[in-house]
Symmetry: C2
Subunit: 334 residues, 2 copies
Amino acid sequence: MVSARSAGLPVVVDAMGGDNAPEWIVAGAQIAAEEGREVLLAGPPELLESSGLNVLAASEVISMDAEPGISVRQKKDSSLIRAAEAVRHGRACALLSAGNTGAVMAAALLRLGRIRKVARPAVAVLFPVLGRRNPTVVLDCGANADCTPSWLLQFARMGAVYARVGFDVNKPRVGLLSNGEEAGKGSALVKETYEMLSTEEWESCGGASFAGNVEGRDLLLDSADVIVTDGFTGNVLLKTAEGVFSVITKAILAASESSDDARAGAKLFFPALLDTYKTFDPDNTGGAMLLGVKGVCTISHGSSSPRAIASAIGVAHDLAAAGIVEHLTSAVEE
Amino acid sequence: MVSARSAGLPVVVDAMGGDNAPEWIVAGAQIAAEEGREVLLAGPPELLESSGLNVLAASEVISMDAEPGISVRQKKDSSLIRAAEAVRHGRACALLSAGNTGAVMAAALLRLGRIRKVARPAVAVLFPVLGRRNPTVVLDCGANADCTPSWLLQFARMGAVYARVGFDVNKPRVGLLSNGEEAGKGSALVKETYEMLSTEEWESCGGASFAGNVEGRDLLLDSADVIVTDGFTGNVLLKTAEGVFSVITKAILAASESSDDARAGAKLFFPALLDTYKTFDPDNTGGAMLLGVKGVCTISHGSSSPRAIASAIGVAHDLAAAGIVEHLTSAVEE
């Protein structure tokens, strides 16, 4: 299903959100434009006009450490709010921001609004699986700290749609994150959700299959196509994985400087590691998607490289063109 | 404070628990004995007598995938139950098992019993911090899937005792695992626990300081000496960290075989990585401690190497000699 609404529309990019905004954001948008993507940059025209891209004027900036709720309500002429409004008013097919995550979520909720029947939008993050085409969709990674079983059920459905529409996974296997594989393991929330996911109705409606409980160690393995959890646990999972990756990377780099042999060996060996590094580097993935709002909303890492921003713009475009919002809408209506 | 009760007593080792039991467990116990540690092996004498170590006869074995509660109640002559009884009856200063985690916890609860006023024992796992002497104590890593704020408060206190007695940390900084650093971030459980940990009474009683919220990315950093969480989240954290470490390690090894240059480079470079690898390898750490039961109880990884078993025996010995159970007892009485 191609979304008629989004055909030909640009992705609107919050040029002022991100640790290295606007420079890296603009550079990423320029790469995407060179690759044939339509892009609209939201921010102060005087800063952006030299980019050669279309600009949506916005005079204010929401800082990375601002209080999300307050700033979104007060800064009505911020690049983020103006970008969200562009999607709402049909001037853009998707919103991308590498800014303050809480503010992006708040802006999307306020300006795009929830899809009807979605109890709570959820943040979906992609994790690579070596040797498998599709990444694992993990949600919720931070939007809702306390969840109910029925919200998790809806996350499962939305995650399955994302895997199907975004990565052509025919019948996504949905795993439930728990502290043990066996049925009956888990918190009260997980046990109750397990029962609900085990019903045949769920599987037939969702176009998915329930893979049972999965554990933290399954994150980068081919155990499931979608992993469902509450936003508190999902956020801990995401940040733990990123933290371990970052500490190991730094330790490897330090080791490569520890002796002449190490230096010489690393020079020969590191090129072979580069693909692996890129696969796992969080700054290289497309960013998180806020599923359940009326529009494609991508939240990129604050430290995203220009290349990562360009990739995320491409992904957002493709998801909009594939009509992911429409697919999500019908999946939760069922 | 040295525990008079434990002076001169052996660590009793469940010789039949572990993926490579009894061979690797016996080998580890032999290394520990050579290093001057008193060791008692629990298991079938016919399998263990050639070890040259003292043997505590036990005819039954609890398998790695047995249902913990049932097996512990039924297999009264198992190596695990006999080992726990040896601690209870003052014939050993500490119990070590690399067997079924649930069964070890159940055996310790049933045979050793809880320390008075301990609401729930918790599993404490050590995570290395590069460049820092003491590891970070994280608890609960799996004993209690659903927790109350007052349990977490007690975990904080027990974790601080572990950091102080086990690693000479003068005034341990206790962090509360959350989905954001700011006060006010977190699940309802975390928010309520935050309030309780922020009181002056807690800090003065606990001989610790409250470091506020910490995130998953702080796990391997010098952000806190103790990280407190519920057993569900802690288990996800532990298994995520182990899973990421394992996948990255395998990817590095695969890359080292991908070309002649990579092979040659890896040969020169890997020796410089070895210390880092050993620091992070879960099979090389001492294993988890069950804090809150009346005895030192170490739960080692099922795949622990003989060297890891020997180290864990040494750690268990030292903790018993330092009177950790007595310290925990007075900390929760306050």
